[in-house]
Symmetry: C4
Subunit: 247 residues, 4 copies
């Protein structure tokens, strides 16, 4: 269903630079290697990101500024080194919203994007599963699944997720896609963007910016939260907006 | 009024290397693209910086070392990746004091500087507005607006803001302007400078070094603090001093 | 005994790309210089990593999120700069599991690997000794030796150590070995991987990923923990798996 | 007196590669520009480093892991960006122990080293003075001056300062002096070394590794601690040892 929603969203942007791509794509060895990198990268991202939520939850149940920093560093720096490690193979998206931004900008075909998003959602699910197996049952909790904090309205959460994902995609386009940007160090500012986004967003929505990060632990733990669509619509809108603004 | 003060300050330095620039500047498409980058960059900086103050304020009302670190990382790393993402388009100033330093050094015309500063102040205001809309009314507080801490005199705050901005501009000139510096990684030391400045300055003045960061949330929240000029004069003096020392 | 186990493990992978290497290796001056770099690098890593556990233990006995961050930064950033400083001399492994990954990938001979692992274990031991001599007896504790946390099963610890070491070796191969990766900045993502691994793993197993880090303080303090083999088998399995996946 | 001790120490190493240099050095404009960079760089380092001690002291009087992290980040990241900003002008030593290491390695003449060390001590003093003027009298405390913690013997403090300075100089030689090292990003691992050294050393000795950092606030605040020589002998021994080992 989630994948289906994604495809619907993608087709809405058909009037943009979107290219369908060739069915042959799916027979190329290189494509599958790229999808494999997206699968492993997203798996490790979810294992480490959600793992930091579970691990710091063993130390103190309530959220504190120190716990917030640990969670933000885990997510942000993990994106930094996983993007660095998979960038040469797959581009290092590790995030359906990022893949969508590339499709809308005409830099990725719909075919390849579908393969990527499937790999990312599968990776997110296996990452959450592996984390569940690593953790004593009494400490698993909701595996770091996202939900709106008390007092935050759905529209506020959606606006925040949109702005934070805009930040992420704006930085990706500025430092990694734009040839005048500081190419070789790109994984560092991209990771810093995810880190800061978490410092701001965790007390509001948990700070997703990434439907695969939301999907995996929700599926494995059964905690879908009280506004699950916020985590698909917010990031996708932010990604498309940033992709549009950058041109 | 704030913009007017800025222009007065700028004209004071007419005897330096300041160039007026051409009215044609304002018709160039590239100039407006650069101003747009300054607008978006400053908007996101204020959203994230002030957002970290509001978000950690939801976790604990009083300032602690952990909260201080979260706020410092948010401001410092945001400057790092936003400078990286906008650097190739506008130079990535995102700060009227930095633009002033470039004017005084003869590296930016007054015309372009006026356009930049307007874009920065507008960006700071919209960033604060967007943050207000993302946040439940009971938690908005003063949106991270600056004020002198209890017991700090205006002169002390001004000296501190001057030194901290000197640090920032000294580093920008050393790593990004000076051709012998480590060009490609420049956004990293610049972000670290802002981060450390916050670790020192937040308990004194909130650590501005940037009139646009001060202006936006003050306007939107109505909290101008008990010494608003400190946040214009301190940063401008520090920026001009560093620009002079570096030559 | 530990060294013996290591050699047994190594021979199990004989069917891979493993090369024995030449006895002459051990007479080459360059080889000994490389082994010296591994010795000093691992010594300093254990001194600083365990030192951060002991030092923060002086401030608060229980583990908190803030203490976790300090320990994670110490281990992760130390790997970053020590890898950077020894990389040109020895490759900057500083970890028997990393050396094993290179052997399995056919990028290091068994002969040289034996020399490296001996240097690493010796370095880890001297690092722990130096730390003991620097510290008042009442504060030495277990010198940061590893043990499973209460409630964590051996199999969970082993799975976690395997995944976390997989992360480390996956990143090393992606950013430092792969020529398409961001070569010059490689020590930064590698350090970030160790940092994030600690944010997740410390509340489970102490987060080793490195048998030399486990071996030194265990030998010097006499604290071998309740599942010492977890810290050899988990990292070695993760390293071999990542080495296999990357090809 | 401190300067005199320094000169005596320097002459002890006359049998090494030490070169006296030419009196003409002191007439060269470039030399004075370099000394100026050392003065400003050390001034800002002491202002920011000691400033973080004073600022976090306003939030909580006792040392906690969070306060430790803030202090460590301030010192480490400040060295990173100040080294980056002054590196092209003076080499970015900002530390008499580092200058000593270069003298012993034959990479700096005694003449120039004397000029540098004088500039560093003067910079450290003015940095402490500026910080004092920025701070309300009731909060100045000892301005971040160093002292051995309760229960730490002088010999332990000296050993620790020696090892931590060894780390710093080992990294400087590995990443900045060695041509095979990752030159352009050198300021980052060097800053990380200072950061981690603080995470370990602050609860023992305050973590100096730098006689200029110790000298300035001691002179201005009058707090010389109970073992002031530890902060000269430890760093100098560590620096000379690392300089010797690296060759
Ligand atoms: Ca295309
Ligand atoms: Ca000009
Ligand atoms: Ca080979
Ligand atoms: Ca020489």
């Amino acid at each position: 269903a989630a994948l289906h929603t994604m495809i619907q969203l993608l087709s809405m942007f058909n009037f943009m630079k979107v290219e369908l791509g060739d069915r042959m794509t799916l027979r190329s060895k290189e494509e599958w290697r790229a999808a494999g990198a997206e699968f492993i990268g997203t798996l490790l991202f979810v294992y480490l990101g959600c793992g930091s939520v579970v691990a710091t939850g063993m130390l103190s149940i309530e959220m504190t500024s120190a716990r917030l920093i640990a969670i933000a560093m885990a997510h942000g720096l993990a994106i930094s080194f996983l993007t660095g490690a998979t960038g040469a193979i797959s581009g290092g998206h590790l995030n359906p919203a990022v893949t969508l931004a590339f499709v809308v900008a005409g830099k990725e075909t719909l075919m390849r994007a579908g393969l990527y998003v499937a790999a990312q959602l599968l990776g997110g699910t296996f990452g959450a599963l592996l984390l569940k197996w690593s953790t004593p049952g009494t400490m698993v909790g909701s595996l770091g699944a996202h939900d709106l904090a008390n007092g935050i309205y759905g529209a506020q959460g959606l606006l925040l997720e949109m702005v934070l994902t805009f930040v992420l995609v704006f930085v990706i386009f500025g430092v990694a896609v734009d040839r005048r940007g500081p190419g070789v160090i790109a994984p560092i500012p991209i990771g810093f963007a995810v880190l800061v986004d978490h410092l701001v967003g965790v007390p509001y929505t948990g700070a997703s910016m990434n439907p695969a990060r939301t999907f995996g632990p929700a599926l494995v733990s059964g905690n879908w939260g009280r506004a699950p669509l916020v985590y698909w619509i917010g990031p996708c809108l932010g990604a498309v907006l940033a992709s549009g603004v950058y041109r």
